[in-house]
Point group: C2
Chain length 222, copies 2
Amino acid sequence: MLALIDVCQAATTARGRLCACLDPRAIGRLRRLVGDLHLPRHSTIFAAGDPTECVFALRQGVAMTFRRLADGRRQVLDFLYPGDLFGFTMDGCHAAHAVTLTRASLCRIPLSAAEGDADMAERLHRAALRALVATHDGLMRIGRMTARERVAAFLHDIWSRTDEPTDLVLPMSVGDIGDHLGLRPETVSRAFTRLRADGLIGMLARGTMPVLDGPGLTIRTV
Amino acid sequence: MLALIDVCQAATTARGRLCACLDPRAIGRLRRLVGDLHLPRHSTIFAAGDPTECVFALRQGVAMTFRRLADGRRQVLDFLYPGDLFGFTMDGCHAAHAVTLTRASLCRIPLSAAEGDADMAERLHRAALRALVATHDGLMRIGRMTARERVAAFLHDIWSRTDEPTDLVLPMSVGDIGDHLGLRPETVSRAFTRLRADGLIGMLARGTMPVLDGPGLTIRTV
DNA sequence: CGGTTCTTTGACGTGCATCAAATCCTGTGG
DNA sequence: CCACAGGATTTGATGCACGTCAAAGAACCG
């Protein structure tokens, strides 16, 4: 029961980014449908090839999804924060891996929850659309921005997704960020150094980065 | 009436890639809901900032969606082939531009078509999921592949999406492909030259590229 | 057929990757 | 609370894949 209340809080906290499925009106249904999951840091949520039985809503903690090439090269598709929904597939089988970056709590939402429930189906659809435009943002970053711009746009994205805090929660490694932005860890580190020199951010410490000028991290699109 | 038959053909031809919404059972509803659109080459379908009143299904021709940075840099998000659905947004407003690359026919599907129609809503949802995994493929390509691999994977993608033809329809310019893959036109051209030297493809002529070894263009993921 | 635009090829430059080493965290145990 | 080991981050030096610039050649279209 407490879990369900947390769920609602997560939905409001994250400004519903990927997750508009968890509002109070849905609680009656959720009680029957939702499975609860608590995982330690660096554990697998699902792997590529696994059958898709449900999607996941992150309640607490941070996670990420990624894919690999045969020789081990890795592309981080997305970082997940509380309120985010993930695990959408199209052929009944995951193409990506998902792992936690911190200790985390999740809801398992069986796909069957949407059957015959137009409201739930609508919520899942909206979450998928959010994931789609977020991935388009990612393409724009990797395809046409410099290293400095990619890192700035990435920080701005996380910052705006998590309620524009003065201290950004970044529990992922510099290597993880690099694998998200198409950069090596050394290059990400150098970009941080330059953004810090420009007074946009502070010193990363204990998985936390002070944001001194959030709007200054914006890279505008038309 | 003929148009509706074409619609069904488009759906089967493209193996339903983005478009599972156009099968015979839906025709009764489509007759009331679908708008028809015929456009010349290089015309705008929608622009960034336009309100989202409907999604589009491409019946004939080729089109693309893209976004721009303030200084003009362009990222092509996707190339669209017959059967593809596009124009999904999440806040009632397009973030991308869409233009035709050839003369094209489209269906306009008002978003209201999904209201109270669970079947149509389900079809739109599946199309959105397809777009999502297609965009993940794009991220993987741009983020972690070499120029040659990006072009090979891109050709393989279009090839497999359009029923593995011996002659691939590529009406877009080398610059358009570059803006899709995060490369300059010269680099795309050089990659073509190398793939041709390796016997995987033939000479691009009149917007058509012979595919000599389709499977050889695969870049495997795990 | 001529002008225009796009593609191809070559020469050269640059931003990021790679390699390497020093330093800084962080978690652990005394 | 401090010392230490192991890993991650930072910084520097160097190399290379792709970008940039330029020009020739091919395709397109009125």
